[in-house]
Symmetry: C2
């Protein structure tokens, strides 16, 4: 990259906050997909004004700009495949204001989601979205990808909590979207348009989130089933009842075995399917809902355990949390897809995924947020084995076909980014993709923001 | 309008469904603002294909097209100020599918919101948004305006329930947006962009709504206070507690007096402020929350009444529901604005509105959804008295200035339409309005859809 540009960037953000050395560039090259591409320069802006100045410069020189949170994304969204400027938000990580009277919080995009949650919980409030990476991912990244999590079943996803934004357009112009109140219908809903736009429309510099009162009490329980179909049917039965648990997590047979071995747990009997369920509310209400669910699933379960206290609840979560890592005992690599099907068809999806695996001689392992039909499908493979990897890629395409045939979607919460871009037209028509591109053009006529993503 | 166009429209929708006579045009000329403009022709399409054919014709001939629900809007959104074709949806009023297993309903836009609610409640499910006009407004109109209502406080607005749409672009091309599942992040969120776009981006032909389980029980209570400030402070105290009622409605002193006189009720003592509060959930939970609220407000109230049963609850609602009509005892006309302020500042807003009224020699009467800060501000006036009406218009502008100064918004749930278009730039910057126009252009390059609205 031109020395004059580097000099100008140092003038904007300070020399200490602009890096061009190989080690720094490598540190900002990847995300959780393990895809990798080096940015030409990493800029750590300290203010919205600095972001705007960087974008004005980038627009004038037609340089790619890739906004980046913590690099924990699962679709390659922050990987700078066309080089250019990576804008990283570690210096814009303030919780600006927790307004308890109005139940809102205003934050900068670099705040770690878990830090935000702790801060509002200390004031009796609750920010429900809980992506798996919440200990290190940033709220800015969550907004870019419209992140979900375990508690989305009852509480919804990031989109459902973002009520207003400040953002910088590629031109360097600053916009304010949405409201700082409970309602607002002035103009088109640019807030939700920017949420989930994967850093391709505008660079978010401030986020206003609504909060809810912190639940007074949580009941955690696990249930083991003889097979994964039994667990899948139990999910559908719970979701057809008048109770909505806050979490309803699922492990299939392979995930259960791998997770148990990895975490040193002994499974009851011949368990081949697992659910982890949480209810919340007042102590009486959380308990009442848990009792309703227990009544629904107990006749078909091998074992149902309700945690007596928080440490026991933490132990019950151990199996679920260890699963993703545990799968590497099955194969050296996995392609992890993030499909959603109607919850009534989860058991059909599970059978279908297994059948696809058999056809390609690969294990397909499923776990995830079964209560909202959001199944993480892991096609186990080996990147060093070209034949097995190419079979895995064929299997993934069949997984998407199956999911769409069941009325589902190819991404529930990870985004399109790079990894799903080749499959976008399986779900969207040419007319729809053309419309999305015209919307992109309305924000970013020169195509400098996160180029090569989604489309 | 050219006879050939009328002939072509009759060819598309059938001669019985195309009207050009004066009586029919007059019947589709107004909405609840009482603004009026005649369409050249009214078309009642029977299918998405007919909508698409009408739009192709309108595009080719550059004719304005105004989609219309029941004409119950409060911002002039469906008033065809530039003539052209009014597309009215009474023939597309089917509930296509209530999917209890997946808690979704698929409907055509002409379904009356109250009919939809009844249909899903019969199956144990619940569609929470409840605009005041729910007995006759349509879900298509609710989607166009992102309608709210009393229960938005706990349950959110129309936007929070629309998960997918089918819609026709001005070109006549059909798009499908969103998902039929609980989650989905494929492409930009066109669903929420179209919700609240006031019929200016696309014509919605099918709506998929998520539902929630029907609450098992509702507790209704009323509270009277010595003055409106006392009621306003009680609202803030409730919303600063860990309980979220489903409704928290407010009447100021004038609204309370007018409403009581209109409905023949006797007020307790010298009541000058009124709240209507509902909690819901399991019987124990609804009661527990009501008890918490009672504990918060009782020390400052003149009287708190909890309804013993449904008929008594209906009687308690009588005062709230009669208010809007009752205000005509104060003056022959009102300008009804739909402002939102942070709930902690409701009492400041109320004092400020009263002060604006005094300055202009007009009564300003407030009621509405105080729990989310959404106050319907009624500037009482007389359209036949030019001086008083011009004072009222000045007062409205000052109301908006006050609301924006308090961190609020000029429209919570009624939309911009015609009536608020002159004030749009009080809330949005030129950069923001230009961006909205570019988004409009991405959908509707020729500007045929509901021209003259919002901007």
């Amino acid at each position: 990259m031109d020395d004059n540009i580097i000099k100008a960037l140092k003038g904007i953000a300070g020399a200490d906050n602009v890096s061009t050395d190989d080690a720094s560039r490598a540190a900002y090259a990847y995300d959780a997909t393990r895809l990798k591409a080096l940015p030409d320069v990493v800029v750590r802006p300290g203010s919205e004004a600095e972001v705007a100045a960087v974008l004005r410069l980038a627009s004038a020189r037609r340089l790619p700009v890739v906004p980046r949170g913590a690099g924990s994304g699962l679709s390659g969204g922050s990987v700078p495949t066309r080089g250019g400027i990576t804008l990283s938000f570690e210096r814009m990580a303030d919780i600006i204001n927790i307004d308890t009277a109005n139940r809102i919080v205003v934050v900068q995009p670099g705040v770690v989601t878990g830090v935000l949650q702790k801060a509002v919980e200390d004031k009796g409030l609750f920010y429900p979205p809980d992506p798996g990476s919440l200990a290190f991912c940033t709220i800015g990244g969550n907004v870019a990808e419209n992140a979900g999590g375990m508690r989305a079943l009852k509480y919804g996803v990031t989109r459902d909590y973002v009520i207003g934004l400040r953002a910088v357009l590629p031109s360097g112009e600053v916009i304010k979207t949405g409201v700082r109140t409970a309602k607002g219908v002035v103009g088109y809903d640019l807030t939700r348009l920017i949420v989930g736009s994967e850093g391709t429309l505008a660079v978010v510099t401030e986020i206003t989130l609504r909060l809810v009162p912190k639940p007074l009490s949580v009941v955690t329980m696990t249930a083991y089933f003889a097979d994964q179909e039994g667990a899948g049917r139990a999910v559908a039965s719970i979701m057809a009842s008048p109770v909505t648990p806050r979490c309803l997590e699922f492990l299939d047979t392979e995930a259960l075995k791998a997770g148990a071995a990895h975490s040193g747990m002994t499974l009851p009997g011949d368990a081949g399917g697992f659910l982890l369920i949480e209810t919340d509310g007042s102590p009486e209400e959380a308990r009442r809902q848990a009792d309703v669910i227990r009544g629904i699933i107990e006749p078909d379960a091998i074992e149902v355990r309700v945690a007596a206290d928080a440490p026991e609840a933490a132990a019950l979560w151990k199996l679920r949390r260890s699963t993703s890592q545990a799968l590497f005992s099955i194969a050296p690599d996995k392609i992890n897809e993030d499909t959603v099907v109607p919850v009534s068809r989860v058991h059909e999806a599970l059978s279908g995924f297994a059948e696809i695996g058999r056809r390609h001689g690969l294990k397909v392992v499923c776990f995830g947020h079964a209560g909202d039909g959001n199944i993480h499908v892991n096609v186990m493979t080996d990147r060093k084995d070209n034949v097995r990897f190419s079979e895995a890629e064929k299997a993934v395409e069949e997984v998407f076909q199956l999911v769409l045939g069941l009325g589902g979607t190819i991404s529930g919460e990870h985004g399109i980014g790079l990894t799903k871009a080749p499959y976008l037209r399986m779900e969207l028509s040419d007319v729809e993709v053309d419309l999305l591109k015209r919307v992109k053009h309305a924000f970013d006529p020169d195509g400098i923001l996160n180029p090569g993503k989604i489309f």
